[in-house]
């Protein structure tokens, strides 16, 4: 058996613990899919794998127990999924073209969740279209609101939906639902002054609890969709850490631009001798300094007026 493990990894298969057997990873950008795709997943698992799947922590299906020699057949079988899930692909019937940049994950978003500030899956797919396929080890995740069910702060790029709440004071009846909700469930950015909530703009995280809890539509959402962009969180063996805020009240276009810019930055600065060709962007930023990163990242970005950019980020986290 002669297998180029580097090629198979790029092809979204993986070297498993079981000699001679691989696992196929089916990415679902944004985590939402039509159930019509399930029979194909089942078929692949039954026909080529061991009849089981793992739901991955990146919102995909991992089909284990596939003999290496079945990879071309699995790739053929994957074609309808790759097309159906709208994965960018260079050549048909050859499976996934790259696996470096990980599946763009998203919480269920405002399709379903009352808290979500936007359509997470739609934005995830937009990013997917902009960046894939790519071999660099990037992790992007989207979450609908600051509850962060998607744990975006453990990703390189964490995108958290926000709304800039708008108060119509003439509809406010001073029931304090917003103030109480903000205090109990969020950051306590509201206080009552003269029978009306006053928002601490600096503190406000744009979660929308005030809007959700206002019984009289005095608080409504901003027409514009805003996001918090967090940077370079990670798990891992050296220094797991939370992503830190880069820009608060940023817009979709800027986020996509910043991500694309970061690909350029990493391409320019990555350590070519990094094990497995993988180097977490954070270590590269350590090397070049944050300012250099920021210079590349912000190239050509036009931020919305409300945007607040962090001057310089200092990460902490656990250091082993």
């Amino acid at each position: 058996m002669d297998i180029n493990t580097k090629k198979l990894k790029k092809n979204a298969f993986r070297v498993t613990k079981v000699r001679g057997y691989t696992a196929s990873r089916i990415r679902v950008p944004g985590g939402h899919l039509d159930v019509k795709f399930l029979p194909k997943i089942q078929e692949i698992a039954d026909k080529f794998g061991n009849g089981t799947i793992h739901i991955t922590s990146r919102q995909g299906f991992e089909i284990p127990g596939i003999p290496f020699e079945k990879m071309p057949e699995v790739n053929l079988a994957l074609q309808s999924l790759i097309e159906g899930l709208e994965i960018n692909q260079d050549a048909m019937n050859e499976g996934y073209p790259a696996a470096g940049t990980r599946n763009i994950t998203a919480c269920i978003g405002n399709k379903v969740c009352p808290f979500a500030c936007y359509q997470t899956t739609a934005f995830a797919k937009r990013i997917e279209k902009a960046v894939f396929p790519h071999d660099l080890h990037f992790k992007v995740a989207l979450t609908g609101c600051p509850n962060d069910c998607a744990k975006v702060r453990m990703h390189d790029f964490g995108i958290m939906g926000m709304t800039l709440p708008q108060l119509d004071p003439s509809r406010c009846i001073d029931c304090k639902a917003c103030v109480n909700a903000c205090k109990k469930k969020s950051v306590g950015a509201l206080k009552t002054e003269n029978y009306r909530p006053v928002r601490n703009e600096e503190k406000c995280i744009g979660c929308g609890e005030c809007v959700l809890n206002c019984p009289n539509m005095a608080w409504t959402r901003s027409e514009e969709k805003y996001y918090r962009l967090t940077l370079l969180g990670r798990t891992g063996k050296k220094n797991p850490r939370l992503g830190e805020d880069f820009i608060k009240w940023v817009d979709e276009d800027s986020i996509i631009k910043i991500i694309l810019n970061t690909y350029k930055y990493v391409t320019a600065y990555i350590d070519p001798r990094a094990p497995g060709g993988k180097e977490h962007i954070g270590y590269i930023v350590d090397r070049t300094g944050f300012d250099e990163f920021k210079k590349w990242a912000m190239e050509g970005v036009n931020l919305p007026k409300a945007a607040e950019v962090t001057d310089r980020i200092y990460w902490s986290g656990i250091k082993y």
């Binding site: 405002n110 009352p114 003439s170 406010c172 009846i173 001073d174 029931c175 639902a177 029978y195 959700l212």
Partner: protein, 337 residues
């Protein structure tokens, strides 16, 4: 008397009316729903027929047009008290049959319960009502049960029929309005709902004693006391006074009244810390019996008009109509005590 209008004619009429009236109608506030990417149908000023949302029930009722959420009673400077100026434009409200019945409830409170209300009169005395017909019942409506599904108390009706608008004129002072645009005269019957999916039966022998039933207890945990049911209700009339001084000049301020909710904390708080109905179930009981029992005791007809807005809006999916239908059971329970 009836007319059929093209959209163009209808908008000419709107333009004409707008010179004398502020036109209040249900309209869709595109991005102002509670949840992202949702809208909200509620009352607002309209200037053309396209502004009006005909095919949905408004989440909030017309009442804010004559009973504003917040109303300044007077301004005070150091020792003076001054009433605010009132817009002398008249108001025209587009509303459905049930809501026209609600107007009667508002009037009952503000014209008759105690002295006639000065501020209510200021607005209410200048209102014309335009009836929107109901081709079919909406979810949660139980107007038929409450006998509010039909009405004659309107100035004219205004119903959307495909791409025309049909008018049934009651108040002849508006004849010239329609003649002016050469509206086609036609027999127009206002559509009224004759049956709802939801039906309620208020038991005949209902009495205050049901207060002690256990049916209210489930709402202790289910209800979150947010008050949405009151705010969307076209018959809820409670308010609270607010005295405030302006941040910029502490010597000047105003007294105003704002909507209050019997479901929300603080409604019964008296100076010194006392309060009543701490359990949310008891608030539910208070509200419900007001709507379908004691209002009628006092005034001879039920307060509730069966619009179902309280059910539409409840974030906890508590159904008012469903609770009404538990009353026989409650009666049976308390009769056995």
């Amino acid at each position: 008397m009836g007319y059929v209008l093209t959209t163009k004619q209808a908008n000419e009429i709107f333009a004409e009316l707008s010179t004398q009236y502020r036109l209040f109608a249900p309209k869709t506030f595109g991005n102002e729903g509670r949840y992202s990417d949702t809208g909200c149908v509620r009352y607002g000023e309209v200037t053309c027929v396209e502004d009006i949302t005909f095919d949905k029930k408004s989440e909030y009722s017309f009442k804010e047009a004559i009973l504003p959420v917040m109303q300044t009673l007077f301004y005070f400077t150091e020792r003076e008290v001054t009433e605010p100026k009132v817009d002398d434009k008249k108001t025209m409200i587009f509303l459905r049959s049930c809501d026209i019945h609600a107007v009667k409830r508002l009037d009952e409170m503000y014209y008759k319960n105690g002295p006639k209300d000065y501020y209510y009169s200021l607005l209410r005395d200048n209102v014309k009502f335009v009836l929107i017909g109901c081709e079919q019942s909406f979810e949660n409506c139980f107007c038929v049960s409450m006998g509010t599904n039909t009405t004659d108390h309107y100035d004219f009706s205004f119903c959307k029929a495909h791409d025309t608008y049909e008018i049934n004129l009651k108040n002849t002072e508006f004849i010239s309005l329609f003649e002016k645009v050469n509206a086609s005269v036609m027999e127009v019957k206002v559509p009224f709902v004759t049956e709802n999916d939801v039906k309620v039966q208020i038991p005949d022998g209902l009495k205050a004693k049901v207060t002690s039933s256990t049916i209210w207890d489930e709402y202790d945990s289910r209800c979150i006391a947010c008050g949405r049911c009151n705010f969307v209700c076209p018959t809820c009339t409670c308010f609270t006074m607010q005295d405030m001084y302006y941040t910029d000049n502490g010597k000047v301020g105003e007294r105003r009244r704002v909507w209050a909710s019997c479901m929300v904390d603080g409604f019964t708080d008296v100076a010194g810390g006392g309060s009543y109905r701490k359990n949310y179930g008891q608030r539910m009981r208070f509200k419900l019996l007001h709507k379908v029992y004691d209002f009628k005791q006092r005034n001879g007809f039920h307060m509730c008009i069966g619009c179902g807005r309280c059910d539409d809006v409840c974030p906890e999916y508590i159904s008012f109509s469903n609770c009404i239908n538990k009353l026989p059971e409650a009666l049976k329970e308390v009769d056995q005590l």
